[in-house]
């Protein structure tokens, strides 16, 4: 009761006073894009420069930076903004954060931009002998089928991306690959555009998808069509960047990140969908209740909590299924882990993969049991076999063109090995029927937990109202004192007759 009161009280305070929307439908979708610069300081003065999205600074899109004891300024160079962090001598790994918030569906930041002065005509890249001629041929041919820089861009990149390119493309491409460039296709495209007299340069974007945290910046190309600078994604040359999918972080040439006094520097991006309006959020940060939210954490750490807050929900489902319904499971919380894995993979494929894995693993486990191994080595052997099976499945399904196979590594491996071990023991001790019953019980519970955790309203509550977990805890405690019959017992005792 007390727990419900505390949890419910905190949540209602948050809704009433701080106006955090309680129902998911009232949400205001916002993207929070966080850049994390990490590098290894070498003991000298550190200076890090990260190019910023122009819009963020100009329109004052709730930008903020986070770093410990760094001096932070934003440098303005003719509408190109750069965040500069500097500090005295530093050692070891460093992490700097920069965050931008904007409304979902806002423009991508990659709109055509008028240039004050006409850029210098591009340097013609130096390609040796026959390569130069081949490149020239490509450009001439592409120019023949296009009317303006836009269509030329599309024509060139469609050729570069297609597997069945002409001899000349292959020749030029191989040259760029030999140079050892990070993205040969893009370097080649920029040079070919240059050869056609169109100034082009590298830009970077972030894919707006909150499922992969710590993503690498996506290289894009910015080119000048005679009046405007335009940004396009070379992998989808004919599409104008869509603000719902892509956010252009850096344009205008120049490096994305420069670090002096550190090595192994890199920038990664984490994208989080925020459902709390910016103004409320700032209030929330100032309020003492702030400690009870996870919103204080950097986005990359928050992304981890997206799943962690779901685990208690899964545990709650297991409690209901076991103590009120009475479904037998293998191990108490194995179904929760399985359900988490299903959240990443789609459930149907996930369950097929799981059954294949367990089926094949079980077969190997029986081969092993003939060798009369001791327990711990046998489980370890199971782990090795499960690993090999996972790799095999990954390879086979990739060959068949399914990408789920690769995701299978998300299944908690040790859990599967133990599942195999316990299942084969039950198989031998109590017969295959009860082994099957328990495994299918586990899968059933996992699917239920999955569907429960999948409800977006539930996810929303768990994430924005962690104090609601206290209410959940109260529910679990109540079930802990439940002395009524389990539903399975109603069936078990159906033949009960009085003596």
């Amino acid at each position: 009761m007390l727990l419900i009161a505390i949890g419910g009280g905190l949540a209602s305070y948050k809704t009433k006073v701080l106006e955090v929307p309680f129902w998911e439908g009232e949400r205001v979708d916002q993207w929070l894009v966080e850049a994390k610069v990490s590098f290894l300081a070498t003991g000298r003065e550190v200076k890090a420069r990260l190019s910023l999205p122009t819009d963020a600074v100009l329109k004052n899109l709730g930008q903020e930076s986070g770093s410990l004891d760094y001096h932070y300024t934003v440098e303005d160079d003719r509408d190109e903004y750069t965040a500069v962090w500097s500090s005295g001598p530093r050692d070891e790994g460093q992490a700097l954060y920069y965050r931008v918030r904007f409304k979902q569906g806002l423009n991508s930041g990659g709109e055509p931009k008028a240039s004050a002065e006409k850029p210098d005509s591009p340097d013609v890249p130096k390609l040796p002998g026959s390569l130069g001629a081949a490149a020239q041929n490509i450009v001439t041919r592409a120019k023949g089928v296009s009317a303006d820089p836009d269509s030329l861009f599309v024509a060139l990149f469609e050729q570069i991306n297609s597997g069945s390119a002409s001899q000349e493309y292959v020749l030029v491409k191989r040259h760029y690959e030999k140079e050892g460039m990070a993205s040969p296709n893009i370097a080649m495209g920029i040079d070919l555009l240059g050869l056609a007299g169109i100034p082009a340069r590298l830009a970077y974007g972030v894919i707006l998808n909150d499922e992969n945290s710590g993503q690498q910046p996506v290289p894009l190309i910015e080119y000048y069509d005679g009046a405007f600078w335009k940004v396009r994604n070379p992998n989808a040359p004919s599409r104008i960047p869509d603000g719902r999918e892509l956010f252009v972080w850096h344009r205008g040439g120049g490096p994305l990140l420069e670090v002096s006094g550190g090595e192994n520097s890199r920038v990664t991006f984490t994208v989080v969908k925020d459902r709390i309006p910016l103004a409320t959020l700032t209030d929330l940060r100032k309020s003492p209740l702030f400690i009870s939210t996870i919103l204080a954490l950097p986005a990359s750490e928050r992304a981890v909590f997206r799943y962690i807050v779901l685990i208690p929900l899964g545990a709650f489902v297991v409690v209901i299924m076991r103590n009120i319904i009475g479904i037998p499971t293998l191990g108490t919380f194995m179904p929760v882990l399985l359900a988490l894995a299903l959240l990443e993979i789609r459930p149907v494929q996930g369950i097929i993969m799981f059954s294949l894995l367990v089926g094949a693993g079980l077969w190997f486990r029986f081969l092993l049991s003939r060798m009369n191994l001791l327990v711990v080595p046998r489980v370890a052997a199971c782990v090795v076999i499960v690993t090999l099976l996972m790799m095999m499945m990954g390879v086979i399904s990739f060959q068949l063109g399914y990408s789920v196979g690769i995701k299978i590594t998300l299944f908690p491996m040790i859990i599967i090995a133990w599942t195999l071990e316990r299942m084969s023991l039950i198989w031998e001790e109590e017969g295959k029927r009860s082994a099957m019953v328990q495994v299918s019980g586990s899968v059933l519970v996992a699917v239920c937990a999955y569907h429960f955790m999948k409800i977006s309203q539930i996810q929303y509550w768990a994430f924005y109202f962690p104090e609601m977990l206290l209410v959940l805890l109260a529910g679990i405690l109540l079930i802990g004192r439940y002395t009524g019959y389990r539903i399975s017992e109603l069936i078990r005792f159906k033949t009960f007759s009085n003596a």
Partner: protein
């Protein structure tokens, strides 16, 4: 020993009629029973067993006394109770090599983990043929197999929570003639469930072909309810259904007098006193030469016993709780007398 021909008191039959009205057949009984009906019958579910009887009466620290068979046996021997003779205890992987030395001179024996549960990891050997051993099912095992089994036990394969374990080698009970005749291989054992030292319900568990020598009811063994007052079997169930004869042997299961029933009740109550557990089940086997032997004490006895007896456990547990409150210091004889007086079953027709 009570006389076989017990007259069933009239008031009990009256109660039977009343409850018969409640259990009139309804269409849903084919699939399930409603919670209300079960409560009416006094059936105890797992949640109720744990929350009302197990957790309050069985302190955690006492569990090890019964989960570890070595400690249970030591306690029982100190009380002068008959237990199966211990041939040897194997404690380290090195000991696995001296198994044969311990087994020397023993024709039949049982190897079990000291912390096993639910009959897991028990290997029964009936006799020897040359170097090899024969299980009750007739399967031959080599000394290597036996050694392997011991290693598995030592590694904790069968123990609760996978902890490291010892292997116990002990006397193979030669079940009394009467009991072997109603069991397909495997030795039947008697389970007495007790609360605060009052025997509340008892059953005999006999194996079938399906249960393969084991006596776990959900694996297809027979549960045969025993009248607490007389030690006469009153009804039998197989997979939750009433049966009157053994499915493999065809022999009748009802109305069998368990020998030395009084001794068995005494043993059960002593087990409760020596362990201090409030709610427990005591497993006893009857040897044809040595009489009743205490096999193990179970701190989490299952609920199938109420099916075997056709009586909801709550009908017996509640009076015991009240009785215990009224007279917390009752001695052994008083408790047995109480149970015998109040928990008398309706005996089959030919005994009435």
């Amino acid at each position: 020993m009570p006389d076989l021909k017990v007259i069933v008191p009239k008031k009990e039959t009256g109660a039977l009629d009343a409850s018969d009205r409640h259990s009139a057949h309804k269409w849903w009984h084919r699939w399930f029973r409603t919670p209300g009906e079960l409560r009416e019958l006094g059936v105890v579910g797992i949640n109720m067993r744990n929350a009302r009887f197990l957790l309050p009466n069985n302190p955690r620290r006492l569990y090890d006394l019964v989960d570890n068979k070595l400690r249970t046996k030591a306690l029982a021997e100190a009380e002068g109770m008959c237990v199966a003779e211990t041939y040897g205890v194997l404690r380290t992987p090195h000991d696995a090599n001296i198994v044969e030395k311990i087994l020397n001179g023993h024709e039949a024996f049982v190897i079990k983990p000291t912390r096993g549960s639910g009959g897991k990891g028990i290997m029964v050997i009936d006799k020897r043929v040359g170097k090899n051993f024969i299980k009750p099912s007739g399967v031959e095992v080599t000394p290597g197999d036996v050694k392997n089994h011991v290693s598995n036990i030592l590694a904790g394969l069968y123990s609760l929570g996978g902890k490291r374990d010892f292997a116990l080698i002990e006397y193979r009970v030669q079940p009394a003639e009467l009991l072997t005749s109603i069991s397909f291989q495997g030795a039947p054992d008697i389970r007495v469930v007790m609360l605060h030292g009052y025997p509340v319900m008892a059953m005999l568990r006999a194996s079938t072909k399906e249960s393969d020598g084991r006596s776990n009811l959900h694996q297809g063994a027979l549960g045969i309810g025993i009248d607490i007052a007389t030690g006469i079997t009153v009804r039998a169930i197989h997979h939750g259904r009433l049966v009157t004869n053994h499915p493999d042997l065809g022999i009748g299961l009802i109305g069998i007098q368990i020998p030395q029933w009084d001794t068995i009740l005494h043993m059960a109550v002593i087990c409760q006193e020596m362990t201090g557990l409030g709610y427990l089940g005591v497993d006893i086997m009857i040897d044809k030469d040595k009489g009743p032997l205490m096999i193990e004490v179970n701190a989490r006895p299952g609920l199938a016993i109420q099916m075997a007896n056709g009586i909801g456990l709550l009908r017996r547990l509640e009076p015991v709780v009240a009785q215990h409150k009224k007279n917390p210091t009752a001695d052994l004889e008083t408790k047995i007398a109480y149970s015998v007086k109040h928990f008398r079953a309706n005996l089959p027709d030919r005994f009435t």
